[in-house]
Subunit: 424 residues, 2 copies
């Protein structure tokens, strides 16, 4: 009777990270961390399990996300729990809890995994990781400039040139004033325009106009369209863009259609886009929120921050060939090969010498023949091989093979260890 | 009308990592990674969401864990999904999927978070992280020795001395032979003894004896007790212990009561314990399994590995005062302080100079007075402060204050940057 075997597929919409992919992930996370730390940010973290009320509290506007797109379930103790779909509510909770002990401005970053129940598609999976950087407190304009400068520097630190991407900025508060100047005073109508504008770059122009006219009539629609197509900067946005120019950041565009999904933004909002046309989703997005901790306490803390996903990041790096030569090898540096199984223990002892000097060392105790082990090691990008047999042990003289160069060096273990340390 | 505010508490049994705690976590994870890499292990990862069948398939013996201790729920697409309670089934799934492409022996490690629905207690939370290291394929004895040698080295690399901990080893297969030699041939009875032995060090001796006698009668019970209290090593265990001694690992004890919870172990099993008496839970545990990938395919792969949790690890490091001076500072190296808000942008520009040289630099644009900002920076363990005002900008001469030493240096930005790079 044949047993039924389990599938080796992962759960739908999530990823297995084999060492090759884990190495790319490591490279992305390490680069994110290094740049965030250079900007004086400290890492924090929280559990991905959060009370469901944390996301429900943000109001009915998020009903779609909470009701249809989160992983929410009842635990065995009857608590309603959600796998976090975003990090901002968790960081707001943590800031609110320690508000009195913290010295503002606070600069925090984290690299959480986030969960959404969605149909998987390019750049969008059910689980992804996201760099989150937030500045709480401090001067608002300076914070907005610094937040965008950090986002910009993150891309430069991956080797991107400014011409590969574009920063688009807008301001929620200004948009409200601009709408009011055009006679659109009803906040619900303003929100509907914002939602429509979110699709401005995706819809055909005529289609956009038809929908806009249906909302506010042809005359006003023309004026809104003029606003989007010929954006004049008003004071706050001009100051922001000027500040960025002062820092040498010039690939910046005011985009009045920029909406951002989350309702908690109150001032500056921004996104960064790949200009190659290969990746339509924004590389990162963020903005200023003035009342996020108000869910937890009477006194609120203002902040500005952004999130940058690993899936879109990797797509961007691959599109622009920015991964080559930057991801660390997953192969050990050295493999010790016992000539036959009776030398396994001797091989482990020799490995110990190299391992204690932090030289990544494997021991190949498999059943293959010696020659095959050496050629497999070369094929797996291992740099050095050292065979251990009776002769080597008796003479205390070993041969260190440099596999890519097909050269070798003879000597005692001490000699070879020294020459390896020098070579690496 | 006062709004009802949300609690700032995290979900029960999980942790918030404020920067101080995240830094300890970073230190633990970095040390784990460094040692695993020195042993030639490559990092892999998988999603914490797995099909529930992956855990159910292991058989009815795990019913308690699957039915009462996992987070299992039905997703919106009617799939039954589990938050992984351990990593071994995921790694077995991944190895089985790529068996033909992999070169054995394979050395893989990962640092997943794991979930159990349990009452939180010392050393045991609902979410914890665990270093997992496995060797698949290769010689069995050499793999067992290497796995324990890695576990041992991990503790040394945290600064632990061998006298602080103890490796306890046993062998599942040998225990079966030993029981059979004593006339205990029924596998169910053998399993019951194994389960009871798991509590040998926790129960009073008399209580243990009573329960053992109830299982197998007084005479045989005496013999089993003798086996536990005066363990003689049989061949496999002796070879293992001798091999470890050859590598200089001598804090090893044969413990015939050692049982390990998981049923998939088939040979060597081991745990490492803190000998201080402060931490009763094992620091790590593992063993050899010969049939794990058999769930997925006809041909199985043999392996040996262990898991080491972050909660017990941190408890151990704190008990033995092994964290002091080893955890990186969460404070930025330098803070730029604008003399008043009109100099915020100039401060950001100056920060950019230091940040591009990877010197962790914050900008304090808060509303506090200058003197207070400087004393707060010192209190927060920031090493250097640099004030930017009208005089500094006009003269291009700045003062770099060394906060812990209360000294200062004057110069142009270039001079100060150079002297900071030299000092760090």
């Amino acid at each position: 009777m044949k047993e039924i075997k389990l599938s080796t597929q992962s759960y739908k919409g999530v990823r297995d990270f084999y060492p090759e992919d884990a190495a790319v992930q490591d490279y992305i996370f390490t680069t994110w961390s290094k740049t965030a730390k250079a900007f004086g940010f400290a890492r924090f973290d929280a559990s991905l399990l959060e009370p469901a009320e944390l996301y429900k509290a943000k109001g009915a506007e998020n009903a779609e996300m909470v009701n249809e797109q989160t992983y929410t379930f009842i635990d065995r103790g009857e608590r309603e729990v959600t796998l976090r779909p975003e990090m901002t509510p968790s960081v707001a909770r943590m800031i609110a809890a320690k508000k009195r002990d913290l010295q503002f401005p606070v600069r925090w970053y984290s690299i959480p995994n986030l969960f959404r129940y969605e149909r998987p598609q390019r750049g969008r999976l059910r689980e992804h990781w996201q760099l989150n950087c937030d500045i709480f407190g401090g001067d608002e304009l300076a914070g907005d400039i610094e937040s965008i400068a950090l986002a910009h520097q993150l891309l430069l630190d991956f080797g991107a040139a400014p011409k590969m991407f574009e920063v688009r900025v807008n301001n929620r508060q200004e948009m409200r004033s601009l709408y009011e100047n055009l006679g659109i005073k009803d906040p619900a109508t303003q929100n509907k325009i914002t939602q429509l504008n979110d699709r401005f770059h995706k819809l055909p122009r005529a289609e956009y106009c038809t929908q806009l006219e249906a909302l506010i009539g042809a005359d006003t629609a023309q004026k809104v369209l003029a606003l989007l197509e010929n954006p004049e900067s008003s004071l706050a946005t001009r100051e922001l863009v000027n500040g960025l120019f002062e820092l040498g950041i010039t690939n910046v565009k005011i985009d009045r259609s920029l909406a951002r999904g989350f309702n908690y933004y109150t001032g500056t909002i921004f996104e960064i886009f790949d200009v190659s046309g290969e990746n339509n989703r924004s590389l990162l997005g963020g903005g200023r929120y003035d009342n996020l901790t108000a869910l937890f306490s009477e006194d609120s803390v203002s902040g500005v921050g952004f999130g940058m996903g690993d899936v879109t990041m990797r797509d961007f790096l691959e599109t622009h060939a920015l991964l080559e030569g930057r991801v660390k090898s997953i192969a050990p540096t050295l493999v010790i090969i016992p000539a036959d199984p009776s030398h396994n223990l001797a091989a482990l002892k020799i490995a110990q010498v190299f391992r204690q000097r932090e030289i990544s060392t494997a021991v190949d105790t498999g059943e293959k023949k010696l020659g095959k082990k050496i050629s497999d090691a070369a094929g797996a990008s291992i740099l050095y091989a050292l065979v251990v047999g009776q002769d080597e042990l008796q003479s205390n003289t070993y041969t260190l093979k440099n596999l890519p160069q097909s050269t070798s060096e003879e000597g005692t273990l001490d000699t070879l260890l020294t020459s390896l340390i020098v070579a690496l």
